[in-house]
């Protein structure tokens, strides 16, 4: 009786469930299966238990990649949001044509193909005669090899990342800003609040849910960083991560193990370690937010 009653509903969600099972559930479960096997993509998988996980956790590249990732995330996510918020406030202060112009201009890097962005930045960072070194030269600063000096490589990547991501985050934050009722600012102004006080006491609290989304999305994206460091270091499956692996990140290492060394079992285990980390940290963020709201 119940089945008959709800059958049309199940039928209506069936296409989604079938596609979800085919394109999400099956790849995830087969990935989990292969992560416990020695498999090169073709031969019969051989069960090896936790060996792939042990190998990855013990490998020097994994610890380098995770250390790089930790530094990268702790700088790029907050910095990216700060810049995007600044841009959103700036664009929000304009109206009409100028608002459109700035919004589009700051959004442009988001739609630029990654290889093109990397080519532009490789030129900007070029030692001796690159744009950045030319400007630094005017102030007497000697040439810096941004993409090959291990002290500067991470910051060079973060600058590119912020440049690309700021436009996307700005658009989302801008939408959030537009939803803040004008009366709140009006009342604050009447009470004599400065612009800065309005931002701290009205804008940021009212943007809370949007900022949380931007933060979470930025974190998840940063955990999976791949194309920018890959292109900036001129990586290939046979050599990646740049000088002394200063720009080696987990997804690059995973791809290299898979397609460079045809160890797909290890690559699958790597993917699961990364997924577990992302899920755990994201859950922690949601938990903290729920706890704060309850308080």
């Amino acid at each position: 009786m119940t089945l008959r009653r709800y059958l049309p509903h199940y039928l209506m969600i069936a296409p989604f469930m079938v596609l979800f099972a085919a394109f999400f559930l099956y790849p995830i479960l087969s990935g989990l299966y292969y992560s416990f096997h020695d498999w090169n993509g073709v031969k019969t998988p051989e069960f090896v238990g936790l060996t792939n996980y042990q190998k990855i956790l013990a490998s020097r590249d994994f610890s380098t990649a995770m250390t790089n990732l930790l530094w990268y995330i702790s700088i790029t996510v907050p910095l990216g949001i700060l810049v995007a918020l600044g841009l959103a406030l700036l664009v929000d202060s304009f109206t009409g044509r100028w608002a459109n112009f700035f919004r589009n201009a700051y959004f442009l890097p988001v739609v630029l193909p990654a290889f093109l962005a990397a080519t532009i930045w490789r030129w900007i960072y070029a030692p001796n005669f690159g744009l950045l070194n030319m400007i630094l030269g005017w102030f007497g600063v000697p040439s810096v090899n941004f993409l090959n000096d291990t002290d500067t490589m991470l910051y060079a990547l973060i600058a590119v990342d912020v440049w690309v991501s700021a436009g996307f985050n700005m658009v989302i934050l801008l939408a959030g800003l537009k939803n803040i009722p004008g009366e709140l600012y009006e009342a604050a102004r009447l009470d004599g609040a400065s612009k800065w006080q309005q931002i701290i006491h009205i804008t940021i609290p009212m943007l809370g849910p949007v900022l949380f989304f931007v933060f979470t999305y930025g974190f998840i994206s940063a955990m999976q960083v791949f194309d920018k460091p890959w292109l900036l270091t001129g990586s290939s499956f046979t050599s990646y991560g740049g000088r002394r692996n200063a720009l080696l990140f987990p997804v690059m290492d995973m791809m290299g193990r898979g397609f460079g060394e045809v160890k797909f079992g290890e690559a699958a285990a790597y993917g699961f370690l990364l997924t577990i980390t992302i899920v755990a940290v994201t859950a922690l963020m949601f938990g903290l937010r729920a706890w704060r709201e309850r308080k």
Binding site: N40, G41, V42, D61, T119, R122, W123, A126, P127, N128, F129, G130, S143, N145, N148, G234, S236, F237, T238, S239, Y240, G241, R243, R244, N245, G256, F259, G260, E261, V262, F264
Partner: protein, 423 residues
């Protein structure tokens, strides 16, 4: 007389190919997927590839060939993934250096028997060393060597003149070349890109002192073949060159721009940059030439050589795919290819053909490839771990920066390479 013999051999080869393929000429509805590097799938190169396809399909009614261009990593990823999913392209190009991965996943068929069934005249067309590099063991042949390169020294003649160097006499030894680099630096210009940033450019400079026997891998005991004394000598060269470089790698667009804008004297690289420089010569008056990379002694050359390969996937289309592979690598096609693009290839008979042997780029390339070092031999045996190339780069650049003495750098590099291979 020699010409007549060559002509006869060519006709015999072509006739044998036609006879050999006649059995296949009856109608069969087959679609072959043919994957090439992306630069083979654009412009005049694509037009010629399509002409080859047209000729082949006309002789083989019912056969359709789809050509697809892909970037380096996309080719490898697509072939590995294709092997896993059972959806491989039938004929494809790739680099020798990823041959071992492709053999491991079963993307490359062993074509030894089919090859041996080909007429002797056809088999004799190919460069012996190039063909040997496709054979890791007796009776195993995983590719037909196709296009290739020997690295060259591109010289900006305007920069050399500005530095007071007579460009009519190319440097014959490393010492002469290095003296010229210093003169260029003294003239306030860049001598050379930073050769420590890319594995292949490190190999090119290593080859000025070393050889194929002291480079590459001993797969039996998983150790590097690099000789510590030679590597120490080469690292000293990187230390000496450090103040003279542009700081960019040989592959950077910025390097080409510096060369074109008369700020960089030397660029060691493969012949694929020539179309860019040729165009710059026409449009902005760039004066340049290309010569052999000088080695430590007169007559010895530096640089590396490598070949793009044509591989055939195992499967129901293997016979016709192999036939197509032999058709496109056959002398007549390789002569047309070389004439069109002035690019060196592994068909020695084509390279010796009077129609192409006098083309300047071909002439130097043939000589360069002959004296060059294999970049990552032996091929098709085992995958090179990613830590290998990065270790070579890391120690070369760290030594050039003064973090190690050349002797320390060489010792530590070799120890780490051995541990990387052992892992």
């Amino acid at each position: 007389m020699k010409r007549i013999t060559r002509l006869r051999a060519g006709i015999a080869g072509a006739a044998a190919l036609i006879v050999g393929t006649a059995g296949m000429a009856e109608a069969q509805n087959v679609t072959l997927e043919y994957w090439v590097y992306s630069d083979f799938a654009q412009g005049e190169a694509l037009a010629l590839q399509q002409e080859f396809i047209k000729e082949f399909t006309e002789a083989h009614p019912g056969v359709t060939i789809n050509i697809t261009g892909k970037g380096d990593d996309d080719l490898t990823a697509g072939q590995v993934a294709g092997a896993a999913s059972g959806n491989l392209p039938d004929v494809f190009m790739n680099a020798q250096s990823v041959g071992a991965q492709l053999v491991e996943v079963g993307a490359l068929a062993n074509i030894y028997e089919k090859w041996m069934a080909m007429p002797q005249e056809f088999r004799d067309q190919f460069d012996e060393d190039a063909l040997a590099s496709c054979m890791p063991r007796p009776e195993e042949l995983y590719c037909i060597p196709y296009t290739g390169f020997g690295s060259l020294l591109f010289r900006n003649l305007t920069v050399l003149e500005q530095a007071g160097i007579d460009p009519s006499v190319p440097p014959a030894t490393w010492d002469e070349w290095f003296a010229q680099m210093q003169k260029v630096k003294d003239a306030g210009l860049y001598a050379i890109p930073d050769e420590t940033l890319v594995f292949n450019s490190i190999a090119e400079i290593y080859a000025t002192s070393g050889s194929s026997e002291t480079w590459g891998f001993n797969w039996d005991d998983r150790t590097t073949r690099i000789d510590p004394a030679i590597m120490a000598k080469v690292l000293q060269k990187f230390v000496d060159m450090a103040p003279l470089t542009s700081g960019t790698s040989r592959n950077d667009q910025a390097t080409k721009d510096l060369f074109i804008s008369n700020q960089l004297a030397f660029h060691t690289v493969g012949p694929w940059v020539n179309p860019t420089y040729e165009e710059a010569a026409k449009t902005s008056g760039l004066k340049y030439d290309f010569v052999l990379i000088p080695g430590d002694e007169p007559g010895k050359t530096g640089g590396i050589r490598s070949y793009e390969i044509v591989g055939v996937a195992p499967g129901p289309n293997m016979d016709i795919a192999f036939e197509f592979a032999t058709y496109i690598t056959e002398k007549q096609q390789m002569v047309r290819w070389a004439k069109l693009l002035s690019r060196y290839n592994a068909n020695a008979a084509a390279m010796a053909d009077p129609e192409v042997s006098d083309l300047p780029l071909i002439k130097v390339s043939v000589e360069a490839a002959r004296g060059a070092m294999e970049v990552a031999a032996p091929y098709f045996i085992d995958s090179v771990p990613s830590c290998y190339n990065s270790t070579v780069i890391d120690y070369a650049s760290a030594t050039a920066d003064g973090e190690y003495t050349p002797e320390e750098g060489a010792q530590e590099m070799i120890a780490e390479l051995n541990s990387c291979l052992a892992e």
